[in-house]
């Protein structure tokens, strides 16, 4: 008898639909309850919160002072960009002027040197030429000659030693054979 009723319970379990309300259904199967009159109170509290939210949304936006209003903001931004652009342009203009000035200075300097060179004494130029000739030609020629001699001497010494080694080896081989 007990088995039959248990089987019936098994058959019926999870087959019943909601009995009246979803809350009763949860109470019956899960044992979870709620305070009495909860949904009515909760509804009032939710509506009150929503009223707060909607009031916040409805509040007129603060009137901005005239120079902070969007149309003025754009004008101010455009003016700033214009001023910045002008500044950069002016700076570039200064640089190109400076370049021109440098070029002019350089040309003037070169001309001065040319003019001064005309006024130098011939004896001074001759002395300068001789000194340059001595430094550039004679000293360099002497140095290169020395280098060449060293090279020849080195090669001779090395070659001789190699030759001697070769002769010694051949001599020993001949004796052995």
């Amino acid at each position: 008898m007990k088995n039959t009723s248990e089987n019936n319970n098994k058959e019926n379990f999870l087959k019943e639909g909601f009995e009246g309300s979803i809350s009763k259904h949860h109470k019956k199967y899960l044992g979870t309850g709620i305070p009495e009159g909860y949904f009515a109170e909760s509804k009032i509290s939710i509506l009150a919160k929503i009223k707060e939210v909607s009031l916040l949304n409805e509040q007129p936006k603060r009137q901005l002072v005239f120079w902070m209003q969007p149309q003025f903001k754009y004008m101010v931004a455009a003016s700033l960009v214009f001023v910045l652009g002008i500044t950069i342009w002016m700076q570039n203009l200064d640089i190109s002027n400076a370049t021109n000035e440098i070029t002019f200075d350089q040309v003037a300097f070169t001309n001065d040197i040319l003019l001064e060179s005309l006024l130098v004494e011939e004896s001074e130029i001759e002395a300068f030429t001789n000194a340059t000739l001595f430094n550039e030609v004679v000293v360099k020629a002497e140095l290169s000659e020395q280098k060449l001699d060293n090279l020849i001497l080195n090669s001779l010494i090395i070659e001789d030693s190699l030759f001697d080694d070769y002769i010694d080896d051949k001599f020993i081989e001949t004796i052995i054979l």
Partner: protein
Amino acid sequence: MGQRIKLTNSLSKEAALVKKLQNPALKDRAFSELLDVYQERLYWHIRKLVITHENADDVLQNTFIRVYKNIQKFEGKSSLHTWMYRIAYNESIRFLEKINKMSYDYIDVIAESHLEVLFEDAYFDGEEIQIKLHKIIDGFTEKQKRVFQMKYFDELSFRQISEVLEVSESTLKSTYYTTVKIIKEKIFL
């Protein structure tokens, strides 16, 4: 035939309610109507996720505030019912994550078992069979739990659950029938 007529009526009622909610002049009155229809269902959906009454109350309020703020964005791609369920589900998950960040002790309890939190709730007074059902459900995977609860306790259709959880209907059906079989086998052992 009768069910189809009932469904059509319910959809047309829902469409009318959405229209009123999206009309600023009628919004507040329509919202009171919305609460009458969905408050209880959403509460129980949330309660099963966040376990205690106190937490469910907080999340329910947040859910309806979010619904109120975003109703203009509702495009009718799913039913209003499903859309609100998804909001409630996301709010509950967000709430649990927030609690987990705030209190490590609470995480440990949650990690051990939802049951300990549930049994400590002032609004739980389950008897032996109900505690047993909770224990069986607690042994399910998260997915099995959600599917069983949404289908059996919230009476959502597989299509609606599929929209909320973003899982195919065939997978949901198989999951649900497996859970029901397990419960039937274990409940009177």
